[in-house]
């Protein structure tokens, strides 16, 4: 969407245009839901996003366009989910469920051990990989099962493009720990792809 398109959309929203609101919901609802789920979990996510839309409707008149509409909406959903998370005391330890998935991948010299080295994938582009419904389903399931903090960091960083400083404010861990969590989450998703591409 160009800046002009976005400005026009915001003006329509501020003028109370219902079709403009439907368009914005079409464009961002699923993403916002994903962010909410990553922070607060499935049970409260729908409620948080609905609440976000209501806040957006009542606050759009004051929206100064210092950020994009998407960033503004994402911030609202993050703030609401974070508040709810604190209220629900849904704190997990840094990485409680983490198990090193590649303990056997390296030999005593820290080189790849046989037969553990990475195996080529049959599909060699993300688009081709995502064409498989089965793989997409497996990845979604894995994302849901990731330890809370790994999932939050990965969704906010890799899917929503937030920086580590913003993410650290949400989950209250250091930037260096966030980077570790992100790497672990990515490795977990990569492992799902490995297993799909090279079944035992």
């Amino acid at each position: 969407m160009t800046a002009t398109d976005e400005n026009s959309l915001i003006e329509k929203l501020q003028a109370g245009d219902r079709d403009a609101f439907r368009l914005v919901v079409r464009r961002y609802h699923t993403r916002l839901l994903f962010v909410a789920k990553s922070i607060i979990g499935e049970a409260f996510a729908e409620e948080i996003v609905q609440d976000t839309w209501e806040t957006a409707l009542t606050s759009i008149a004051d929206f100064q366009q210092r950020s994009t509409l998407q960033t503004w909406l994402t911030q609202i959903v993050i703030n609401k989910a974070k508040t709810r998370r604190l209220r629900e005391a849904r704190h997990s330890s840094l990485d409680v469920d983490w198990q090193h998935t590649d303990d056997n991948a390296f030999n005593s010299s820290n080189g790849w051990s046989t037969p553990a080295p990475p195996q080529p994938w049959h599909e060699d582009s993300p688009e081709a990989l995502l064409a498989s419904d089965e793989l997409r389903e497996r990845i979604f399931t894995k994302i849901e099962k990731l330890p809370d903090n790994q999932r939050i960091v990965m969704v906010l960083h890799d899917m929503e493009g937030l920086g580590f400083s913003e993410i650290c404010n949400i989950i209250e861990v250091s930037q260096s720990n966030s980077r570790v969590l992100l790497h672990r989450a990515r490795l977990a998703i990569k492992k799902v792809i490995d297993e799909h591409q090279n079944p035992l």
Partner: protein
Amino acid sequence: MKHMLSCKDIHDRGSQFIDGNTGMLTKVGMLMHILMCGNCRLFIRQLRQTVVLIKKMSEQSDSDQDLDAIADKILCKHKHL
């Protein structure tokens, strides 16, 4: 740098490398290792693809019909619109 980085180092720092979050010495060390090690080259390539794939997954959306129903439900509470 006291010694060459190992394959495990490349594995453990892969995300830092592809995100550009390593120091210069580490970056050079990793590049040298990756240049010489086919397994690590493949690992880094697959990790990059994984990150792109994760990003693309967020672009998937529900049907317009379902989303319009959600929008209408919210609009019902805001009659002034």
